[in-house]
């Protein structure tokens, strides 16, 4: 196996509560990532988004972060200068967020936004060339009439189109690592399938590493190679996606069991009985 693309060891993220005491939201998370599709699942508040954000270095300034090792493609992010980290973000590491409605600039045409992303990466690039690249990026995410869409504003796009624009904007710089935080939760099921297969295509073709953060266990299992299950700031279980049904931890089993299904029983759904010992569970 080649050297891992990203490594995290013993990551802790804490916030102050109302009384001014520090409260750990992420409590000792470690994993390493190759050029693979890694899913992180858990409920809201389990620390999955914070973990992704720590890697990018976009946590709020009032968060207290401690980590034993944080590296990306051999670069030690713990000691890297803010300037270096800034140049990695958007360039070699990209992030896709949940809701295109709030993540795109509402007063700028999408074409301009993509061109801006390209020219930040390569300031010497001619305007015409950047434009051509942006159109090609929209084409790569299967947007019909990319030239026309370049001139549209975010409010003129549907949710699925907005999300594809955001993906285009991220992959146009050809990052090595893409962090997708609930990229399809705001989308309809039929559109979701399209966006997922699109991301799959781009990640596989360009050999990127992907961290896919979601609360949807089944979606993650269908799409990823490996799944990390988080509960209350810790990793409770790491699984091969294809062995999801063989999950050992009662929390993972509970999450799977509480989902209704089209052909499922009509008896009351099993609910999670949260066990205090899960909080301390080893990896």
């Amino acid at each position: 196996m080649t050297a891992p693309l990203a490594e995290i060891e013993n990551l802790r993220v804490a916030f102050r509560n109302d009384e001014g005491q520090w409260h750990d939201a992420v409590r000792g998370v470690s994993f390493s990532l190759g050029r693979e599709k890694l899913g992180i699942v858990g409920e809201s508040g389990s620390g999955k988004s914070l973990t992704g954000r720590s890697l990018l270095g976009v946590l709020p300034s009032y968060a207290r972060v401690s980590v034993d090792k944080l590296s990306f493609d051999g670069i030690d992010l713990k000691t890297a200068s803010p300037k270096l980290r800034r140049s990695l973000r958007g360039g070699r590491m990209g992030m896709i967020l949940q809701d295109p409605k709030y993540s795109l600039n509402p007063v700028m045409s999408v074409g301009k936004q993509i061109v801006e992303a390209i020219r930040i990466g390569d300031r010497k690039l001619a305007a015409a060339e950047a434009h051509r690249k942006a159109v090609a990026a929209l084409d790569a995410v299967h947007i019909r009439e990319p030239e026309r869409v370049m001139g549209l504003y975010p409010h003129e796009l549907s949710g699925g189109m907005g999300q594809r624009v955001m993906i285009a904007m991220m992959v146009v710089r050809e990052p090595d690592l893409l962090i997708a935080d609930e990229p399809t939760s705001a989308l309809d099921v039929t559109v979701r399938t399209q966006v997922m297969s699109l991301m799959d295509e781009l990640v596989t073709r360009r050999g990127m590493g992907l961290i896919f953060i979601s609360h949807d266990l089944n979606l993650v299992a269908k799409f990823c190679d490996r799944v990390i299950v988080m509960y209350a700031g810790r990793i409770v279980e790491t699984l091969d996606a294809k062995n999801l049904r063989a999950a050992q931890h009662p929390y993972t089993q509970g999450l799977l069991a509480c989902l209704p299904s089209i052909d499922g029983s009509l008896e009351p759904l099993p609910v999670l009985n949260r066990d205090a010992s899960w909080l301390e569970a080893a990896r």
């Binding site: 209704p260 299904s261 089209i262 009351p268």
Partner: protein, 239 residues
């Protein structure tokens, strides 16, 4: 219990609901499925009087929704919205939110009934002094359900009641809704984009697309994959 006939809703030029008809029997749970923008939420909002301009006929428990006073309608049909963060008043305590409809309608002993409702939804009377920001998403959705039940309606309209919640909390809310329907003999209309939720909760469902009805199915037809329309099949495949 509910008779919707040839309902059409237009918003400045675009048609949100196009000539839709359906009937729901007393005690039945009926699902509306479709993509965003297909008109399913607009139907619910029109039924409770949140849209003024519409054509067609809506009958609710024998009352004509167009001519019945809002106050009488509100005692029969109530709505629960998708986002429990947006649908509760941030500066009212939980007790005030639940008691408000009863105060407006002059119902006796609103405080006693509030405590009773809080018990019914599994939170307990001690929650009446809390504020919405102190509650989790699932707890807030329980409060929204308690408020909807405060006037003892016979019909609950549920607009994506669990899509803002974690799956583990979704299971708790769906179980609660099923229990309440049985105990109180309620009629449900549930809007969802999730066919699994609809199949679990509803005896019949209507698939919608682009403001129009695609087809109406029973749960058995859905489970036997006995669907005629290509779009319904596509929706099933994606779920």
């Amino acid at each position: 219990m509910i008779d919707v006939e040839n309902l059409t809703v237009r918003f400045s030029g675009s048609t949100a609901v196009d000539n839709v008809s359906f009937h729901v029997a007393e005690g039945e749970s009926f699902g509306l499925v479709g993509e965003s923008g297909s008109g399913k939420s607009t139907i619910l909002r029109t039924m409770v009087g949140l849209n003024r301009h519409w054509d067609g006929r809506i009958g609710i428990a024998g009352m004509d929704a167009r001519t019945t006073r809002q106050r009488d309608l509100a005692r029969t049909v109530q709505m629960v919205f998708q986002d429990p963060y947006g649908s509760l008043h941030p500066r009212y305590t939980i007790g005030q939110q639940i008691a408000e409809p009863m105060l407006i309608n002059g119902i006796a002993d609103p405080l006693g009934r509030t405590a009773e409702l809080l018990d019914m939804i599994g939170l307990g009377p001690k929650f009446q002094f809390r504020y919405p920001h102190e509650l989790s998403g699932g707890q807030r959705q329980r409060v929204a359900i308690a408020r909807a039940l405060s006037l003892k309606p016979r019909i609950l309209l549920l607009d994506e009641p669990t899509s803002a919640l974690d799956v583990s909390i979704q299971a708790e809310i769906l179980n609660l809704l099923n229990r309440l329907r049985k105990e109180l003999g309620l009629t449900f209309v549930i809007v969802s984009h999730d066919l699994a939720v609809i199949s679990y909760m509803c005896e019949r469902l209507m698939v919608m697309r682009n403001a129009k009805t695609v087809e109406t199915l029973t749960r058995e037809q859905l489970r036997a994959r006995d669907v005629r329309d290509a779009y319904s099949r596509q929706l099933l495949a994606a779920s």
